[in-house]
């Protein structure tokens, strides 16, 4: 088990290296760079930079170097734990990202917890009360939940809250807390706001997980050990919770592998629509403005989060299921 985890951990730097090449190629790909668009905006507003200034800026950001040197310089600063300077904000990228990374994680993890808390009981209920009204209702809701893109759900909810109650459910804080430093009151305020985006981000996953849970459990409920358990006089609740539910939850651990990364990056579009200050909108802005080091940094962080998500799920699966554990060692 330990060896398996170590192996997986050793793979992380390799993957990150490959991703860093890919990411750099991506942010480097658009024609022109931040400076050219910056100069264009300046000249359209009447002012301009003289040649010397442009050259100085180019040198400062290393934009005058060939691509591979630029990459090496970027990697070098990455290895020193720095993500470079944002061209647009004129601030270190690490600061910009650090401000918002916490919220990304909190949002994704709370959506994750929401999903599991809702999906598992719902799946169990659906499977044990098959073909009842509530089961049908769950199935219908699941299909709609899977079919609704989460930004669409956000739009509908925002429109509904605004037109019915005049409420704005965008943002994560009330206005007075937006710029305030962290405090207990701000935490409470965050909790008051976070549940709407949490549900919006988590709902599709909840629908899918409920379906998987229901199908897994249905397979188990037909097994002979259920009959023998009943014959021995176990109560239905005990019988279901003790054996088939545990069997049915095991494969769900493997869904974490794709679900966690999906939550991290899936919140991106919702965050843009609902004006949540996480790294999603920052990435979008930096991509549009060709703020390449900022975009590259955020993309790498998304990659890292995706790797971690898969790792957690694999380790969890090996830990939960002895059959997989044996096979691996």
């Amino acid at each position: 088990m330990l060896r398996y985890i170590l192996q997986r951990l050793l793979m992380i730097p390799v993957l990150l290296f490959l991703f860093s090449v890919m990411v750099f190629a991506l942010v480097q790909a658009p024609p022109g760079d931040y400076l050219t668009s910056y100069i264009a905006t300046l000249s359209s507003s009447g002012s301009s930079l003289d040649k010397a200034e442009i050259e100085a800026l180019k040198q400062q950001f290393g934009l005058d170097q060939p691509v591979h040197i630029q990459y090496l310089r970027w990697i070098q600063s990455l290895l020193h734990g720095k993500l470079g300077l944002s061209l647009e904000y004129q601030r270190p990228n690490d600061e910009l990202i650090a401000e918002r990374l916490g919220l990304t994680l909190v949002l994704a993890l709370s959506a994750f917890v929401f999903t599991w808390i809702v999906a598992i009981p719902l799946g169990i209920y659906s499977a044990t009360h098959r073909n009842t009204l509530l089961d049908y209702l769950t199935t219908v809701l699941n299909y709609i939940g899977v079919a609704t893109p989460n930004f669409m759900l956000a739009l509908i909810l925002m429109w509904w809250a605004y037109s019915q109650f005049g409420l704005s459910i965008t943002g994560l804080y009330s206005r007075e807390f937006e710029q305030a430093p962290w405090s207990f009151a701000k935490m409470i305020d965050l909790l008051k706001h976070i549940w709407v985006p949490m549900i919006v981000i988590g709902i599709a996953g909840t629908a899918r997980l409920t379906r998987i849970m229901r199908a897994n459990l249905l397979d188990e409920l037909n097994k002979p050990y259920m009959i023998s358990g009943r014959a021995r006089g176990l109560s239905e609740w005990q019988l279901v919770m003790k054996y088939p539910v545990r069997m049915a939850i095991n494969p769900l651990a493997s869904t974490i592998g794709w679900y966690l990364p999906e939550l991290f990056s899936g919140s991106l579009i919702v965050a843009t629509v609902m004006n949540l200050q996480n790294i999603g909108p920052l990435l979008l802005r930096s991509l549009i403005n060709q703020d390449m080091y900022l975009a590259g940094g955020i993309l790498l962080i998304y990659c890292f989060l995706a790797i971690i998500g898969t790792l957690i799920s694999d380790i969890l699966l090996a830990w939960l299921d002895p059959r997989i554990r044996m096979e691996k060692s």
């Binding site: 993957l15 490959l18 991703f19 890919m22 990411v23 991506l26 942010v27 790909a29 658009p30 024609p31 299909y143 709609i144 899977v146 079919a147 609704t148 893109p149 930004f151 669409m152 739009l155 509908i156 925002m158 429109w159 605004y162 037109s163 704005s168 965008t170 990364p261 999906e262 991290f264 990056s265 899936g266 991106l268 579009i269 843009t272 629509v273 990435l283 979008l284 991509l287 549009i288 975009a295 955020i298 993309l299 998304y302 990659c303 989060l305 995706a306 790797i307 898969t310």
Partner: protein, 409 residues
């Protein structure tokens, strides 16, 4: 599994009573019992006969047919496909026609009955200027009735690019009033939503389908190589799949589409997006194809084909692939909605299709502002169409997947 599930296929119009209870209501005479069971026995063998000579595709169809939800979804899907083929016919306006004065006209819902007779009409609209903001505000006016007819004349176009015509599905009876029928309202620039929606359906659906076709081709080729030949190509392809699958999809897609030059024409962007979507889409399918090839390679019929001297290409194309075509179709049907949602999201963020191209995502860009939305909620309709399309694709895909393996229980 010793007997074929008898209710799998009941011949339609079969008059043979299924059990004793049905029988007793009609003929309560015991001696007939014997002949009846004899007949039933015969009918079962006939059924078995029918099943045993049915082709794989017939079995899939019989099984698919039983899933009513999937069949109903197929009908909706066929209708959407028709819109994709001839959006001009369904449209009532040129989708690019703008008139800022006609902005935010509300939905004019179709009333089918007029004084008890079937005579479809829509209410007229009346505009008045807001005295403060000087904006035009439009409301529907039930007292005016604009009568509608089918196959009404309108702007001329080429049906399927071939036949010159000016007929549209619906339109005003009175050509004078044709300019006042906005079935799904208008947007910020006074463009007719209904007409734009038909053209958006064409673009969004084709993006989904083309990228899935690309994924299928890539998945078949690479998955096939991986599973059939094994060895180092398998190693490389598997690592590549793992690498691609561990990428965070949405951010990478964003970066890829952001890298497309702004100067590209809509057609170029269209194809670039289908390729971008297919770049990762093939991995799931390749895995499945590889698994199939691995297990099929050991089957007797493949060995027999080899011994009979078939070429490798023939074994793969004629003997192996047809055994899992239905699975490929099911998997790709389920992949289309994913592509559609991704394209919609990217376009919605302004990074996918860009105006003047019209897709569902491009139309939804108009719905980004919450104040506008409160004023004109019908701007959300393209989103509902997305949900409907994804829903029917999923239902059809699920039905196909369940039907794909006709010999399973």
């Amino acid at each position: 599994m010793d007997r074929v599930e008898p209710n799998l296929i009941q011949p339609e119009g079969s008059q043979i009573p299924r059990n004793a209870e049905d029988e007793s209501t009609v003929l309560p005479i015991p001696p007939l019992e014997q002949t009846r069971s004899g007949e039933e026995l015969l009918s079962v063998t006939q059924e078995e006969e029918r099943i045993s000579i049915a082709s794989n595709w017939t079995l899939v169809w019989w099984r698919f047919r039983k899933n009513k939800l999937a069949v109903a979804s197929t009908v909706i899907l066929l209708f959407l496909a028709l819109v994709v083929l001839i959006p001009e016919f369904f449209a009532t306006f040129d989708p690019e026609q703008t008139d800022a004065r006609l902005a935010f006209i509300p939905i004019q819902s179709i009333h089918w009955l007029d004084e008890g007779r079937l005579k479809p009409w829509v209410p007229g609209v009346a505009g008045k200027r807001d005295p403060v903001t000087l904006k035009m505000l439009w409301v529907t006016d039930e007292s005016q009735r604009i009568y509608l007819r089918f196959f009404a004349p309108g702007f001329s176009y080429k049906l399927l690019g071939l036949i010159e015509t000016d007929r549209h599905l619906v339109g005003a009876v009175d050509p004078e009033k044709a300019e006042l029928v906005y079935l799904l309202g208008t947007d910020r620039l006074g463009r007719d939503q209904w007409s734009r929606l038909t053209f958006a359906t064409r673009i969004s659906m084709t993006i989904g389908m083309i990228s899935v076709i690309l994924s299928v081709v890539l998945g078949l080729v690479l998955g096939g190589i991986s599973g059939y030949f094994g060895g180092w190509p398998d190693m490389i392809i598997q690592r590549l799949i793992e690498l691609l699958q561990s990428l965070p999809t949405i951010p990478i897609w964003l970066a890829l589409t952001a890298a497309l030059p702004r100067t590209w024409s809509p057609e170029k962007v269209f194809f670039a997006i289908t390729i971008i979507l297919a770049l990762r889409g093939w991995t799931t399918l390749a895995r499945e194809v590889r698994g199939r090839f691995l297990s099929l390679r050991e089957e007797d019929f493949v060995l027999a084909a080899e011994l009979a001297g078939c070429s490798q290409a023939r074994i793969i194309l004629v003997h192996m692939i047809p055994t899992f075509t239905s699975h490929i179709i099911a998997t790709s049907t389920l992949a289309i909605p994913v592509m559609i949602v991704t394209e919609t999201s990217l376009s919605f963020l302004g990074l996918g299709m860009r105006p003047p191209a019209i897709s569902w995502g491009v139309m939804l860009q108009e719905a980004q502002n919450i104040q506008t939305l409160a004023l004109a909620p019908w701007l959300l309709i393209p989103g509902l169409v997305v949900i409907l399309a994804v829903l029917v694709f999923n239902l059809v895909g699920d039905g196909l997947r369940d039907a794909a393996d006709p010999y399973s229980n």
